[in-house]
């Protein structure tokens, strides 16, 4: 199936640990995003990459580091996890350009729980 996939879907970990979330899209898109959705359902943009280049880098703690090994992948690494990092993290992708819908396609989300 063509889609945006994320692994893992659920992540439970202790404070202070380091964890990674992986994202892959097989839609041929050139732009990928990471969002954080808090308990009030607010969607906050964190990062965006276009063709492996960082183009959006919102104010997030530097414990969060994205990495895009190629156009189809955008991973999120989080160091020294804190209680406030508990949230759902969404990966999304989009094909840039004036043609086409330009909508974002979202992955299923990763629910991160920090204990």
């Amino acid at each position: 199936d063509t889609a945006v996939s994320q692994t893992p879907k659920y992540l439970v970990t202790q404070m202070g640990n380091d964890k990674s979330i992986k994202c892959e899209q097989n839609l041929g898109h050139d732009t990928m995003y990471w969002y954080k959705q808090d308990s009030k359902k607010f969607l906050k943009i964190m990062f965006s990459y276009n063709n492996k280049e960082l183009i959006i880098n919102e104010t997030v703690p530097n414990r969060f580091s994205p990495k895009s090994p190629d156009k189809a992948h955008l991973n999120l690494h989080i160091n020294s996890l804190e209680l406030g990092d508990s949230a759902v993290y969404f990966c999304a992708s989009r094909r840039r350009g004036l043609a086409g819908g330009n909508e974002q396609f979202f992955g299923p989300g990763t629910r991160l729980t920090v204990l």
Binding site: F42, L43, I56, A92, G101, Q104, F106, G109, R111
Partner: protein
């Protein structure tokens, strides 16, 4: 900066009835895209409908339609013949035509009552 406002945090509608969710936005751009996304309890974000600002005709997708008022910077979503499966959080989103960033509203939680 662009802002998107959804002034109705929660709404409910009887099954088979019609409901309208409101969205306003603030921008100085003349060309842009607008979207409505649905997030059911499964948490998957699903595109409901999109509108290009340069198109005057309101977009429709089956039971979903929008009322796009460019001068008023308003982009409301109408759901006709509401179904139980429409119960979800609905997000309005804005994107500049030459931009990369989506600006999301705070969402409206819609409950369809049987």
């Amino acid at each position: 900066a662009q802002t998107v406002t959804q002034s109705q945090p929660e709404m409910s509608v009887q099954e088979a009835e019609t409901v309208t969710l409101s969205c306003t936005y603030d921008t100085s751009e003349s060309n842009y895209y607008l979207f409505w996304y649905k997030q059911p309890p499964s948490r998957q974000m699903i595109l409901v409908i999109r509108q290009e600002a340069y198109k005057q005709q309101n977009a429709t997708e089956n039971r979903f339609s929008v009322n796009f008022q460019k001068a008023a910077k308003s982009f409301s979503l109408k759901i006709s013949d509401s179904q139980l499966g429409d119960t979800a959080m609905y997000f309005c989103a804005f994107m500049r035509i030459t931009g990369n960033q989506f600006y999301f509203g705070t969402g409206t939680s819609l409950t369809v009552i049987p």
